[in-house]
Amino acid sequence: MHGRPRKASKPEDEAASAAKAVKLRSLQSQFMTYHHEKIYTKEAIELSTKLLEINPEAYTAWNYRKLAVEDSLSRIESDPNSVKSILDEELRVVENALKQNFKSYGAWHHRKWVLSKGHSSTGNELKLLDKFQKLDPRNFHAWNYRRFVVELTNRSEQDELQYTDDMINNNFSNYSAWHNRSVLLSSLLANRVDGFIPEKKIPDEYEIVHQAIFTDPDDQSGWFYHLWLLAQTVNVESPLLTSSWPSHGSSVILSGAGCLIGSPFNVITFCSETGSVPLILYFDQAVGGVSSLTVTIDSELKGNENLVWEPISNKSSQVSCVWVARLKYLISEPCESKEYKVKVRLGNSPGIISSRGFNFSTPYEFVFTAHVHDTAKDSQERIVSWTDGFELWNAQSKDLNSLATSDQLNAGIDLKWRQAAIDSEIECFRLLADSKIGKLTLARLLMASEAMMSDAVVKGVHYEEILQLYNDLMALDSSHHHYYKDEHSVAFLHKVTSSSESLSRYLFRYRGMNNLVCLRLNKLSLSRIASVEKLLFVQMLDLSHNELHSTEGLEAMQLLSCLNLSHNRIRNFSALDSLRHVKQLKVLDVSHNHIGKHSVDTTRYLCSSPLSNSDWSQDDVRRQNPGLVTKYWDAYFVLRDLNLKQLDIAGNEIAGDEFNSFVLQVVPKLVWLNGQKPGN
């Protein structure tokens, strides 16, 4: 695609180029004859040399030479000298061709081909590369070829790292050199080559990149490398369990559908018609392989020996941060209240693997107590109100702590050097915090520092500063306002969930339904959801009066039965797609959003491929009302997978008689629509 035509640009060159064209044309037609008749004589080969030296992009000629070389090699048996001279000639032709056009794909590829025949001298190749890399230090053909030579000749990656040192010292704005450095270091660190221990090397790398950034804060290259370094400092290879529900040491009351009289205030009560309760595992990175083979359940609750674990992800992939299984607890015969201990163990047998190929390697177990209650059926369907019935949950922080423990976070990680590296970066970048990129980097460093802190005394000290930095950035750099706004929301939610004290200010119990645990994060200007891993126990969530565009992230909250999203910026039902995974959800308020205001006609992108297999399975609604399904397809796909009893959609463009009746067809079990019983 970037084979740009090389054309003479000045008129006085035109005569010369015309003459050249005549010469080239006769070369070309003669060459084609040789090629098609498979003539590999010395004369014929020389002709292709001439052609390629003038026009290195004549890839047919490169192929012809490969055939010619094979032909010659087959005829000279294995005289090493002849082999050498044949292959040397190929290298010479490539070099001349590259002098003519050093961006020729065909020429570089031909050289790789010659080298793959086992004919190479690392020294020569590196010398040649040096020449081209001086000519254009950003030439990606040369860099690609360099990586190829290094791999083929087993040249040490340390030597290559030294080369990037030289390139960077020579010109630290050469991002290609920084990029190659990141590729090399990743491999050296991953393979634990001697001396390449992250805690030693990464601090050194920070020193190197400081020289570039502080010499000239306006040059982009160093900042991008710094971003990569920060990721290396924070990221841990093997996946860990961030949190679970139920959490270690907690108690839950499990019962059938309906109401429990006098359910205790400090324990979570979970009711279900199906008699099963979700177990949630939340990992710090997407993993695959969670199954009854890798996760063992020890309990007297029968029928849970072979639990089915499902990844909770909008993608159809088999990896996810969040995995859920449904633990059965409802025993058919009536019984007294009973107490069961449930022990969940994972990591004892291999199989849980991150998408980057690392094993979950630190065994972990957690135990919780399940009190199984039998309930009198209470089929009364009362409307859930978001205005009253709430009591602040002045829970002892002990109860909260057991709900919101971070299970394995930071366990067994060599935190010390990481924290030290980030602390020293923070100190350093406070000096550069007057530029936009300086502020952003500082904010990211402070967030990374918070994520690693385990000491409850100092945890949370950075959030005020982070929030201020993002406020400054919003004012300073309006063109990326949305981005900073999102980051501000993330930081704010991290702050809220950073301690049980701060969290308890937003926690309530809802008297109307078994004292559901309700988190009220309304009127906070949130534009993005975060910290969900610490909120898995929440059953009722009030996010009204924010600036949310989507519910992405909420899919992990498997206990959620009531959700208030009114007065946000939801544009269509596809933005609620993640809720399809929340099987407990009964009450949903999306009133006063922007649904229907922006038409969504993007089906061509969803079905752009002839292979796309969107699940347009036939069902009654579709058969009876194809027109409405087409018109409201986004609502159709989401609503048909939910088990809603109460839905509020008033105050949206889409709301109206036609849509209401469509909703009732898709969700026939709906009891309350926009605050009224349908049919009344």
């Binding site: 695609m1 084979g3 035509p5 064209a21 044309r25 084609m32 090629h35 026009n55 992009e57 004549a58 890839y59 047919t60 192929n63 490969k66 590829h109 081909w113 230090p137 990606f140 690609n144 010109n171 630290f172 704005s173 050469n174 991002y175 990029h179 190659n180 000239d216 290259s221 991008f224 909008n314 993608k315 063109s479 949305h482 706004k485 999102d486 600036e547 565009h549 989507s550 992405e552 007065h567 910026r569 939801i570 596809s574 933005a575 797609d577 922007h594 205001k597 922006h598 038409s599 969504v600 006609d601 993007t602 061509r604 969803l606 752009s608 491929s609 292979l611 796309s612 105050g651 463009e653």
Partner: protein, 442 residues
């Protein structure tokens, strides 16, 4: 003049380019309205002149000379189509006949008659023929043989090779899949392992490199993303970081660079803007807008106001939302009811700024477009500057079926170019015709 600070090599080059570009912008700002209008004029006649001359030239000299002949056909024909014109029947027939001679007996197209079939030239030839359109052009493509050719180019690792014994990279993957998609010959064999290969080329920056280990690059990012959309695996890319990378390649000149810390180049107007719009449409389809929109440039609002357009009411998706927070029982007033306006979305890059760079810095007064000031024009840059200009003009729309508002098109409305299908870069009408044709052919 005050002493210049010591600059890095990249900064020195950047400084020189900025000097040229802002010199032009300064001259533009200082000019009177009629000069400004003239400077922004796309100069259709001159463009067509340059292109037509080039196309006729193709027929006469250089016959079967270089390995880029189908590319030249495509660059020129597509540029002409973007301007809403076409070449006369005789030239069309010549092109069909010539491309027919480039078609290999075992499928695929080479860079000229007798040359090995090559995926890139195959893509160019197919796109050129689709751009010509009509039974004669479309039926000249041998789909069965093409299908065999694509299979031959498929590597066991999942990627594609450019030609027999040729190099394997993301360009090869895209050109193969684009052709397979247009000709309706896609199948599992072609897509097997391909997503994993492309995924292995996405770098930590977010863009996509030409091969595993390679630096992120605009052309390959377009190729990789379009491939992933076409094979329905786009979800597995890290789209947040890809969007982030692509939008930040737009520099102070408002043109795009191809890689981190490189100079602006007019051709990336297409290679970078198209991924931005593709992602944005994809996001709005899934409404993950809150991620993508993190990078929405609001700088364009100011440009809008400078534009004095009667339609310029505050109907932008973003501006109208700021006030709709509290108590807006019916936050969507009557003035928003037009579906025309509802189809708008704010581009994630500065579209008018991009158009300004292309029209003032890449456009040549005598027709044709170039990389940047002081560079010569050529058909490659003409094709991708015009394609990118079309993408920028239509970036506000969620689909290609509605014309943009006058204020979205920099300069006079006569600058408006035909919309392109973003995944194949052919004019949308011709794309639709081909899709229908090859649907029936299957």
């Amino acid at each position: 003049m005050e002493e210049l600070p010591i600059l890095t090599v990249s900064q020195r080059e950047q400084f020189l380019v900025e000097n040229d570009v802002f010199g032009i912008f300064g001259y533009f700002e200082a000019s009177d309205v009629s000069t400004q209008r003239y400077m922004l004029e796309i100069q259709r006649d001159k463009q067509l002149d340059y292109l037509m001359k080039g196309f006729r030239q193709l027929g006469r000299e250089f016959s079967s000379l270089d390995a880029n002949r189908p590319w030249l056909c495509y660059w020129i024909l597509h540029s002409i189509a973007l301007l809403g014109e076409s070449v006369d029947d005789e030239l069309e027939n010549n092109a069909i006949e010539f491309l027919g001679r480039c078609q290999g007996s075992d499928g695929g197209y080479g860079g000229g008659p007798g040359q090995l079939p090559h995926l890139a030239t195959t893509y160019a030839a197919v796109n050129a023929l689709v751009t010509i359109g009509g039974d004669k052009a479309l039926s000249s493509i041998n789909r069965e043989k093409m299908s065999c050719f694509l299979r031959r180019m498929k590597d066991r690792s999942g990627g594609f090779r450019m030609h027999d014994m040729g190099e394997m990279d993301v360009r090869a993957c895209y050109t193969a899949i684009s052709v397979a998609s247009i000709l309706n010959i896609m199948d599992d064999e072609l897509t097997r392992g391909l997503g994993e290969y492309i995924l292995s080329c996405q770098t930590y920056e977010g863009g996509i490199g030409g091969e595993p280990g390679s630096e992120a690059h605009g052309g390959n990012t377009y190729c990789g993303l379009a491939t992933m959309i076409l094979i329905n695996e786009v979800d597995s890319l890290n789209l947040d970081s890809l969007m982030n990378w692509a939008v930040h390649r737009q520099g102070v000149e408002m043109g795009f660079q191809g890689r981190t810390n490189k100079l602006v180049d007019g051709c990336y107007t297409f290679w970078q803007a198209a991924p931005c719009v593709l992602l944005q449409r994809f996001y709005s389809a899934h409404d993950l807008v809150h991620h993508g929109s993190s990078h929405i440039s609001q700088g364009t609002d100011k440009d809008h106001e400078d534009h004095h357009d009667p339609e310029d009411s505050d109907d932008d998706d973003d501006s109208d939302e700021e006030d709709s927070d509290e108590g807006s029982v019916n936050g969507h007033g009557v003035h928003h009811t037009s579906t025309y306006i509802n189809r708008r979305m704010q581009p994630v890059f500065d579209s008018l700024g991009l158009q300004r760079y292309v029209l003032l810095c890449s456009k040549m007064p005598d027709g044709g477009f170039r990389d940047k000031p002081r560079k010569p024009r050529d058909f490659y840059h003409t094709c991708y500057c015009l394609s990118g200009l079309s993408v920028a003009q239509h970036a506000w729309l969620k689909d290609e079926d509605t014309p943009p508002l006058t204020r979205d098109v920099l300069g006079s409305y006569s600058n408006l170019l035909e919309p392109v299908d973003l995944l194949h870069n052919v004019v949308i009408d011709r794309y639709n015709e081909a899709i229908e044709y090859f649907f029936k052919a299957a």
